[in-house]
């Protein structure tokens, strides 16, 4: 490089033949420079601030607390009936009589409360095939709950077959909607992660109405089941769960009890209008279906299942989840010892 002294490059040099431009005000130049420095400084400070504010933000997300499903049971008035068994040709009438015998829906649902009704809508089957709860039974339950002044009536189930088709072919969606229920299909967005805190299951994804509702009404059907022997009230709680439910079969009886202890319904109405005696829980052949024209209702699921087991020709003491349910304090299989009303037949 040369050491020759050069003119200051930033001094305005008049080009030959041109008029010299007016010299810019020095204050202005300084302000411009300050603005540029300020801009760069702001960018620098901004990137440091953003970096620090995002620092390991995802680490804190891991320790989220999960909701727990509350106890939905209603207080039992002194001297009230524990269980009602009604036989008759019209399933809706049977339901009405059974609830009346228990003291009316007002015993279970107060005005303005939000209620979720859980039938079995597991399979892409017609009502005659007796794989899902009878739609007339479900519709009558919805009507009674609406009449009791419920603020919201959800109806939902996590079907095993394609939900849209199960909800339609079972006849339940149409009947329940007409009776005033809001249908909740088990889409991925309908599930919330909750604490189960059971013996086997720690957490699980549950249909949101079970997290939000004040009251829960279980409306299962009586069916034979290959692994657990029977599917009735307690087993119906499989249907609140999303995820890989089939894993629960590794210990079906205890997992049924985990789920039943998590939900604790207000009322259970066991549908034995038609029962499935073989090839359950899916069924298919009308030869496996038996017309029983029976409804049993109450708030002791173990007692109801013990009664249901007898309809299937089973000894309740041979059914694992009934025995486990008793041990877990969920109820008694000695339904005959409860205050039971039997009507019809």
């Amino acid at each position: 490089m040369t050491s020759e002294k050069r003119p200051d490059p930033y001094e305005c040099q008049p080009a030959p033949g041109n008029q010299p431009p007016p010299p810019p005000a020095p204050v202005d130049m300084n302000r411009r420079a300050a603005l540029r420095v300020g801009m760069t400084a702001a960018m620098a400070v901004g990137s440091v601030a953003v970096g620090l504010s995002l620092r390991d933000r995802d680490a804190s997300k891991k320790t989220k607390t999960l909701p727990t499903i509350k106890d939905h049971r209603a207080e039992k008035p002194a001297g009230a009936t524990d269980m009602a068994i009604v036989r008759g040709p019209d399933p809706a009438v049977n339901v009405r009589k059974a609830i009346e015998a228990l003291g009316g829906m007002g015993r279970f649902v107060r005005r303005g409360e939000r209620v979720v009704i859980k039938p079995n809508i597991g399979w892409n089957r017609t009502p005659e095939q007796a794989a899902n709860t009878n739609p007339d039974v479900v519709a009558e339950v919805v009507r009674l709950v609406v009449a009791a002044g419920a603020g919201k009536v959800w109806l939902t189930d996590a079907s095993v077959n394609t939900p849209e088709q199960c909800f339609a072919r079972s006849g339940i969606e149409k009947a329940a909607k007409a009776a005033g229920a809001t249908i909740v299909r088990p889409d991925a967005s309908a599930f919330r992660e909750v604490n189960v805190s059971g013996k086997l299951l720690r957490t699980g994804d549950v249909l949101f109405p079970f997290v939000e509702a004040d009251r829960v009404i279980n409306v299962p059907i009586v069916k034979q089941h290959g692994l657990s022997l029977a599917s009735m009230s307690l087993k119906n709680w499989y249907g609140v769960l999303g995820g890989q439910r089939v894993k629960l079969h590794q210990n079906i009886h205890l997992s049924i009890i985990d789920l039943a202890a998590m939900v604790k319904p207000t009322l259970t109405i066991l549908d034995a209008t038609r029962i499935l005696l073989a090839n359950g829980p899916t069924g298919g052949s009308l030869a496996d279906v038996k017309q029983m024209d029976t409804i049993a209702a109450g708030s002791d699921e173990v007692a109801l299942d013990a009664f249901g087991a007898t309809l299937l020709g089973l000894n309740p003491n041979d059914v694992g989840f009934i025995v486990e349910g008793m041990k877990a304090g969920l109820g008694t299989p000695q339904w005959q010892n409860l205050k039971t009303v039997e009507l019809g037949g």
């Binding site: 420079a33 540029r36 760069t40 990137s47 440091v48 970096g51 620092r55 894993k247 629960l248």
Partner: protein, 502 residues
């Protein structure tokens, strides 16, 4: 003088970089942060933060590049970048002889805008949750090239004295891409840096704010264009210097016979160009293209929620989508894996997971008491685990599972050939062992009775480490093989009910 300073920086940084890559091996690493230079990469910080809405603490080091770039311009490319040094050297070797020819190769071209499009696509992908920056980022690419191509080739030539024999799945592809990028210097110098490098593009954008810039004194310039002869960034010092392209190599300042160029604090704004000649529509279009590509990639099968069974992630890997928000495919985990079992995925992890790490147990198993992959991961895609966390202690603290082992009873020696073996049981590192045997008396072909030890897998004790598959004496496809089923990072993958989640 300052040229020698720059060269000194370049030599020191590439030497340091190579040293750290060299140290990334079980025998040398101890607790050194050998991945340190990877955490300086602003593009890694930006894309992983965009994708995960969180910045892994180590990546705060990127501010050490970002802030000075705002002040000094895109100095990183010519002073620090290890790939930049290689390109600089190769571009020097490949340069034309005559100065006018050299100037011509260093003219700005419209194709130099492509890197901004690449950057916009990468940012769009990241915003939608898919970090693909590792494919083109110079630091991650150089790391990967060295880790899975150059070092294994040299190490194998040295009779495996360095890390033992190393072989990487389709390492040839990585070799071709790595050396291909370098060979582009023979098209014209710094082709990759000027046309493709998304990090260069990002730093170029930051340079719009730079306070120090190289500027020309038009009254001195006689138009000889000598300044363009070795301009690294094709920043057009022969015309008006483009601040976004200038890599501050200072060659122009040194070359000008009249001293007409200088690196100055706050030069007048009209002496340099800061505009990237890309319309807002093109910026936006490229970003949107990147973002919408993500749902399409995830609409394919073989990704979540039904992944390929061979997608066995390293222990401590985040749940898959969170993993894809952070993995930059640098290959540090593959380099450090003591058994060499961590491999660059091809199709196993879907198109998004291309070149991300998977364990191929037939090549090498996951060493039970080793957590080096998490230690070297620069972005936290693989969590840092302690050995106690990884191994666990049943039943209170379950181990980290990366998969589980399954017998292929037709290929297993006792099951398929009535031959004594149970090597799998012997090498199983779980305690109690995940592979156990039962004595069975069988009738051999000749009618004689013999007692054999028949092996079984206990799902709850198996971590999927793959030692059994690596050591199984049945060559090529082993008689016991690991798949990703039952990995513990997400309950969806579990088979057993033992974890309490379904």
């Amino acid at each position: 003088m300052f040229l020698w300073l720059r060269r000194a920086y370049q030599i020191v940084f590439i030497a340091f970089f190579l040293f750290l890559v060299f140290m990334t091996t079980a025998g040398l690493i101890r607790s050194y942060d050998v991945q340190w230079l990877l955490t300086f990469d602003p593009l890694v910080a930006l894309t992983t933060a965009l994708a995960s809405h969180s910045l892994y603490h180590a990546l705060l080091w990127s501010l050490v590049i970002i802030v000075p770039t705002l002040v000094l311009g895109r100095f990183f490319c010519s002073w620090i970048c290890p790939m930049g040094v290689m390109h600089h050297a190769l571009g020097f070797l490949a340069r034309k002889r005559r100065i006018p020819d050299r100037v011509k190769t260093n003219n700005p071209r419209p194709s130099h805008k492509i890197k901004y499009v690449v950057l916009a696509v990468m940012l769009g992908l990241a915003a939608a949750g898919s970090v693909q920056i590792g494919l083109l980022d110079p630091i991650a690419s150089t790391w990967r090239g060295l880790a899975t191509s150059v070092m294994p080739a040299l190490g194998n030539l040295a009779f495996g004295m360095y890390q033992g024999e190393r072989h990487f799945q389709w390492g040839t592809l990585i070799t071709v891409v790595f050396f291909g990028a370098l060979a582009l210097n023979f098209v014209y110098p710094r082709f990759y840096c000027r046309v493709l490098c998304p990090l260069g593009a990002l730093l170029g954008l930051l340079s719009k704010f730079s306070l120090f810039r190289i500027v020309k004194r038009p009254e001195i310039c006689k138009g000889c264009k000598a300044c363009g002869a070795d301009c690294q960034g094709a920043a057009d010092p022969q015309g008006t210097v483009r601040a976004t392209e200038c890599m501050v190599c200072l060659n122009c300042v040194a070359t000008c016979p009249r001293g007409g160029l200088s690196y100055r604090f706050l030069p007048p704004v009209d002496r340099s160009i800061t505009k990237v000649d890309l319309t807002r529509r093109k910026w936006l279009g490229a970003g949107v293209a990147g973002a919408v590509a993500v749902p399409f990639m995830r609409a394919s099968d073989g990704v979540e929620p039904r992944p390929n069974p061979a997608r066995i992630r390293p222990p401590g890997a985040l749940e898959e989508n969170a993993f894809l928000e952070k993995c930059i495919k640098c290959g540090a985990c593959m380099k450090v894996c003591p058994t060499g079992g961590l491999q660059p995925a091809l199709q196993e992890a879907g198109i998004e997971g291309f070149w991300s790490p998977i364990l191929i147990p037939r090549i090498g198993y996951c060493e039970a008491n080793c957590t080096l992959c998490g230690q070297v991961c620069p972005t936290g895609a693989i969590e840092k685990l302690t050995v106690a966390q990884k191994v666990g202690e049943m039943p209170a603290r379950p181990p980290v599972r990366i998969g589980s082992a399954f017998f292929d009873k037709g290929r297993c020696l006792p099951w398929g050939y009535q031959t004594q073996c149970i090597v799998c049981e012997e090498v199983c590192p779980a305690s109690p062992k995940a592979i156990y045997f039962k004595l069975e008396t069988i009738t051999a072909r000749d009618g004689s009775q013999k007692t054999l030890k028949m092996p079984f897998v206990d799902l709850d004790n198996c971590t999927g480490c793959g030692t059994c598959e690596t050591r199984c004496p049945v060559v090529d496809r082993a008689g016991i093989r690991v798949s990703a089923a039952n990995e513990s990072r997400t309950p969806r993958s579990s088979i057993s009910l033992t974890g309490g989640k379904i």
